[in-house]
Symmetry: C2
Subunit: 434 residues, 2 copies
Amino acid sequence: MIKPLVTGLIGFGNIGSGVLRAMAERAEELKARLPRPIVLKSIADKDTTTRRDAPYHKDQLHGDAAVVLEDPEIEAVMELIGGVEPARTFVERALRAGKHVVTANKALLATHGPELLALAAENGVGLLYEGAVGGGIPIIRTLQQGLSANRLTAVRGILNGTCNYILTRMAEAGLPFDQALTEAQEFGYAEPDPTYDIEGYDTAHKIAILASLAFGMDIRFDDVFVHGITDIHPVDIKHARELGYAIKLLGIAQRHASDGSVIVRVHPTLVPLASPLGMVGGVFNSILVEGTPIGPTVYYGRGAGPEATSSAILSDLMALASDTHGFNAARDARLTVRVGERTLRPIDQLRTNYYIRFSMVDRPGAMAEIGRALAEHNVSIESMIQHRVELAQGMATITIVTHEALEKDVQGAIAAVEASEKSAGKAFVLRVEE
Amino acid sequence: MIKPLVTGLIGFGNIGSGVLRAMAERAEELKARLPRPIVLKSIADKDTTTRRDAPYHKDQLHGDAAVVLEDPEIEAVMELIGGVEPARTFVERALRAGKHVVTANKALLATHGPELLALAAENGVGLLYEGAVGGGIPIIRTLQQGLSANRLTAVRGILNGTCNYILTRMAEAGLPFDQALTEAQEFGYAEPDPTYDIEGYDTAHKIAILASLAFGMDIRFDDVFVHGITDIHPVDIKHARELGYAIKLLGIAQRHASDGSVIVRVHPTLVPLASPLGMVGGVFNSILVEGTPIGPTVYYGRGAGPEATSSAILSDLMALASDTHGFNAARDARLTVRVGERTLRPIDQLRTNYYIRFSMVDRPGAMAEIGRALAEHNVSIESMIQHRVELAQGMATITIVTHEALEKDVQGAIAAVEASEKSAGKAFVLRVEE
């Protein structure tokens, strides 16, 4: 007699509804593929009244998470609340009670992942989170298993569909940021309060999780340098294109060949127009993983939404239900073991190419001022665009792309230019990835 | 006391050497990640004299596969010979002896996969083959696990680096096929006898394997419609580009929404230049998987070579070594279970757009002849290019792209045109994927 995998759901929003729909629609194939049927016993959510577009009976829905967390019959808990609290408390209680946890909560994992994974291992249960990054793209499993034989050197990704939609619209329709954001909100691609997405926090949570897996290090949200997309001007997108680049918000984690140290950062980035990342438009995600011996590999798909995310969450439930003699949590824990010392390198030690837009007083000598400041800080110019763009009265915009330089030097040069009388305002910096 | 995973290798060529190198280079991380160390005990290959560029002791190398197959201490066998026989016999013997098998042998799996997987299940061991398709791209695991929650509807892939290199060079340098092939052979991207690659057989083996996994059906090499790239003329690539397409050799497996029937085919295909497949150049592979609820996802990477393939093979060994209480073969078998009836649809029932290059006598009425024949067979023209390309004396080339039409009708129309006195030779057909 085979015991079904009895599950409980905490947090009954769009994602949760999507998971229940997917489970119902796929019931027959799940039966054929899995040795153990997956059963949803109870659901907990503050809102017990709103009818959801999902197959469930109202008696299954309760206002108190304890109904799920304290039910000895429930073997696996889906945590789909999002945010750190109360999600963290619920997940800890579930793990301590010996229940597997399936979550799509990137904020929780990026801030407390290592402790929670350790707690899961202690209690001999699994903590699965395929849905936390990349929506339907199975990037977590790919890093844990598919690429496990490689020494990974870099992960670069378009990880936030909202930002990519906004940047795509700015590029295609020449919209200013605010207008593109408003449009994204109208289409439901951006939240009424878009801060978490447009300031890069969502991407930072995701790249922290990917970096931890890729490098086997304890890397958290606080370790990530973050700069969002709110201050990108249409002129930057125009300049970038003239130079053969698109501007994308990337999460980037790189391991330095020299000492194995890692820099993890999120910022708008110039990427070649005809590259696996430069080509990605709209709300899609794309993740470039590089390693030895494998070389470059790319994973592309829908990065968010109930459909994509429910595919990831259901694949985690299927992993739990695919072992007749119980899910092998020990193995799961092994795959997320720390194999490297945590050696992070500060952003000012970054070496890359830079795009810098200077706002100068529209008077002779402005260019000379910039040239001098850059030279004094060992930053050499690869290409330059000078436009009398009237971003403000009597102001000239001078945009350059540097050869590879040290972030510290670039910031020094910029400070020097901004301090000069020829400066008409702050410079705007973007980093370049070839 | 933890028992190491003792392995044996049969077939000591480039791939085998690459695996041994990768195991040595990654020794430390393998130790950290795996509960059981992986040990290579013995190697079997006909050639026991040639020194390989890999870390092994000559005493480990034997001429007789029995040394590996009959050693009770060996728990897992790597079969890296390639080809159906004697690989099939060796794999069967290993499975019957209760040994796990790791192979990259696409020909073997595409012809006898279902029997071998069943034999593995009977004997409670695993048959792992991540290296058989897509080189370092973990597409097998992705279909088995990552996308397991989806109802997959289509798999389209550039699966053969040799063909993609040749087509890329034909497009970029305008080379004729023969010259591009010679170049590929000089660079070692093509075999001295390139038949297996350029006739599409390699791609057909791979798409049969992917289709079986994606649709849970028993689909074999013999079920695949195959047409290679040898008869592509530079003018076709030129025409395709004028129409906004690249020509790529694709393996395509589609499930029809109406009745769930599947067509599996390999042929040169027109794909939009700026698409995830159209952009792929050189020896890289790219695989587009579509399903519900996930939508489109793409997987890109190096498709061949000892580096990429050894990453896949080593990831399979790591899967075997990651379970302290033995690899869960039952689970592995489950993931390849047949969930669907095998319902294949013949190629003449295909509905798509067609690119047709007619060779006509350079005389009035040629176009009228083509128009009449197409109309009589319910095939309508979407766009047309007429060139007096002198492929032969006094011959006109008329190239059209049709609206969606039935393959049967298209072939009928072509036969009618070829039978007419206005025809100056056989027509050349390519299919289009939007």
